[in-house]
């Protein structure tokens, strides 16, 4: 199987199982893109997440465009994106068409309820992988604490948290003041 087919099949699958929004799909992307297929490095993956967070659009869409482009150029980037949204698109369309029937079905509601806490576990799993490459020194722990305070305490919008942390990174690591 050539790389493009493999890529498309992977993103179709990733889309089909991307429960719980952007962060839920990150686990699958990290596992297959970084660990299994070694398409991009663990550190580049975190950078992709950071970029996805600072640019418009859903993380899954941004990450798939980025990975597709990095591996095989712009067309693959677009194709990967169409693949990752294909299954969610068909499902949402079906729900739109048939939603009266879905609404109070016990099995449908139960399945969705079971998946929700599992997604929290998935995000924990992806966080562990990301933490492994994100804390090379004490300064980065400081930036983590700063980010957490901005998010939890002051409810600062994620995009500004990324910006502030990145700029802090420039100050402390590139040493523009020292």
């Amino acid at each position: 199987m050539d790389l493009l087919t493999k890529l498309c099949l992977f993103f179709l699958k990733a889309g089909a199982f991307s429960f719980g929004g952007g962060y839920g799909v990150l686990y699958m992307l990290q596992n297959e893109i970084v660990y299994k297929n070694r398409w991009i490095s663990a550190r580049d993956f975190v950078d992709v997440v950071a970029i996805a967070e600072m640019t418009p659009g859903p993380i899954a869409v941004n990450a798939s465009t980025f990975v597709g482009y990095t591996l095989l150029g712009p067309l693959a980037g677009i194709l990967a994106t169409l693949c990752i949204v294909a299954v969610p698109f068909v499902l949402s369309l079906s729900v739109s068409i048939f939603y009266q029937k879905f609404k109070n079905n016990c099995d449908v509601r139960g399945a969705l309820k079971g998946i929700r806490p599992a997604v929290v576990g998935l995000i924990a799993a992806v966080s562990l992988g990301i933490a492994e490459v994100s804390f090379p020194d004490g300064l980065s722990v400081g930036i983590f604490v700063l980010g957490a305070v901005l998010l939890f305490r002051w409810k600062v919008h994620p995009i500004f948290v990324m910006m502030i942390s990145g700029l802090t990174g420039i100050v402390v690591y590139a040493g523009i003041w020292g």
Partner: protein
């Protein structure tokens, strides 16, 4: 009409920075001010597609697009919603490797990485709330999911399907508890 739908969702996609829920107010404003959908229809749409796999923007666009103009409307809305991301990311990706050789850019990302961790922690806490982790079986499910995928190498898809099956079982055995969750439910 199709072109209008495309444009509207393009704008929504362009201003959705940092994930799904950020775009809700924008989307609602855009759709209700043109009388394409009512506030209730918007909220219904979001709560219905919320549980499906896929980005909320894409799912919402497909659902609402169909309500406005059938299958063609759904396509127009989804293409509109993802187009800005594709364009922006293609531009960034094409200069990324040149960018990353610059020390300031490297320093920027070194600073942003721990913030990504903080962000994941934040989203985990928020999702934990809406997933009702205070109930023991939900907390157990979250821990089991983490252990399964991270330490026992269970494939992601298998884990999701098992979680769905367990959810169905719980719903069959104790429907009243889930109904109760619904009432106190959605924190969004």
């Amino acid at each position: 009409m199709l072109w209008n739908i495309f444009q509207t969702f393009f704008r929504v996609g362009l201003f959705t920075i940092g994930g799904g829920y950020a775009m809700l107010p924008v989307l609602q404003e855009e759709l209700t001010k043109r009388c394409w959908l009512t506030d209730e229809e918007c909220l219904d749409a979001i709560s219905l597609v919320n549980g499906l796999p896929g980005p909320l923007v894409v799912n919402g666009a497909a659902f609402m697009g169909y309500k406005m103009k059938g299958v063609a409307g759904a396509f127009a809305a989804v293409f509109g919603a993802i187009m800005p991301s594709i364009i922006v990311i293609l531009i960034i990706a094409s200069i990324f490797s040149d960018l990353t050789s610059h020390p300031w850019v490297r320093a920027f990302f070194a600073g942003a990485r721990p913030a990504v961790c903080a962000l994941l922690l934040y989203s985990m806490v928020r999702m934990g709330r809406s997933a009702h982790l205070q109930r023991w079986y939900n907390a157990l499910m979250a821990v089991a999911a983490l252990l399964a995928v991270r330490f026992f190498g269970v494939p992601h898809a298998i884990m999701i399907l098992s979680a769905a099956l367990i959810g169905i079982l719980i719903c069959r055995i104790r429907p009243e508890e889930q109904a109760e969750e619904d009432e106190h439910g959605s924190s969004h």
